[in-house]
């Protein structure tokens, strides 16, 4: 029991750390970088961002997403005698709220590795692409990133379901 609690505590702690890195970078991309790149493109300084900042930020972004999901999965596995993971993903009581959060997080993780990363590879030149393909990839990556920003709002609401949510929202 003590080992299980220690694993759960460690997983929860790391889930928060990696989650803050993932969603923090997601918000950086959407709230800061999109507007900054627009201005930087206008005065010819965009290369500094796309060459030096973006690849590093994307590396931490996509791996933080994986680590966040894994730590969340471990945390769920330590709950309800090992049934928490299945109960959350199948919306069984009392895991309906966290189940919604878990599914949203999973969709966001898939979004990161498929739509965002695969298209950003074309934008930053890892995958060869024509100018037209780059423009299309930039648009798809932008919309996928915005979709994740949108989904992060309900995801964090349901992930944060705890004592306060119990009293305020009955979750």
């Amino acid at each position: 029991m003590m080992v299980e609690n220690s694993i759960a505590g460690l997983a929860r702690w790391l889930h928060f750390i990696f989650g803050i890195m993932w969603i923090g970078l997601l918000y950086y991309f959407n709230f800061v970088q999109v507007a900054a790149l627009k201005d930087a493109n206008a005065d010819g300084t965009a290369a500094g961002i796309t060459k030096h900042v973006l690849p590093r930020a994307l590396w931490y972004f996509r791996w933080a997403a994986v680590c966040t999901w894994l730590m969340g999965a471990i945390l769920l596995l330590t709950m309800d005698n090992g049934n928490g993971f299945v109960k959350a993903f199948t919306f069984q009581a009392p895991f309906q709220g966290i189940g919604i959060g878990a599914w949203l997080g999973t969709i966001m993780l898939i979004n990161v590795w498929t739509f965002i990363w695969q298209n950003q590879k074309k934008v930053i030149g890892i995958t060869p692409a024509t100018d037209e393909e780059k423009a299309k990839a930039r648009r798809v990556a932008f919309l996928a990133s915005r979709t994740n920003t949108m989904l992060s709002i309900p995801m964090l609401f349901f992930m944060a379901a705890g004592f306060t949510h119990k009293s305020m929202f009955g979750l």
């Binding site: 959407n30 709230f31 919306f91 009581a93 309906q96 709220g97 919604i100 423009a135 299309k136 648009r139 919309l143 915005r146 979709t147 920003t149 949108m150 989904l151 992060s152 709002i153 309900p154 609401f157 349901f158 929202f169 009955g170 979750l171």
Partner: protein, 69 residues
């Protein structure tokens, strides 16, 4: 109006047209060329969409919880 004339004159009809990058955009009936904007193109639209989805999912969870008990 004959079908051929529809094609020739389709710019005046609120039918789906080719948008940026070949994506089809839905025209608002009666708006004569005005296209529906994607809420994800603005930060405000993104945040509002997220809040709406939160509310919808919250109601779904509460309803299913109520039905289960």
């Amino acid at each position: 109006v004959q079908p051929d004339a529809w094609v020739a004159d389709r710019g005046n009809y609120p039918w789906p047209r080719e948008g940026v990058f070949g994506a089809r955009r839905l025209l608002v009936p009666g708006s004569r060329g005005a296209t529906m904007k994607n809420p994800l193109d603005s930060l405000m639209g993104t945040v509002i969409s997220g809040l709406v989805i939160t509310l919808v999912l919250y109601v779904i969870v509460k309803v299913t919880e109520g039905a289960a008990t």
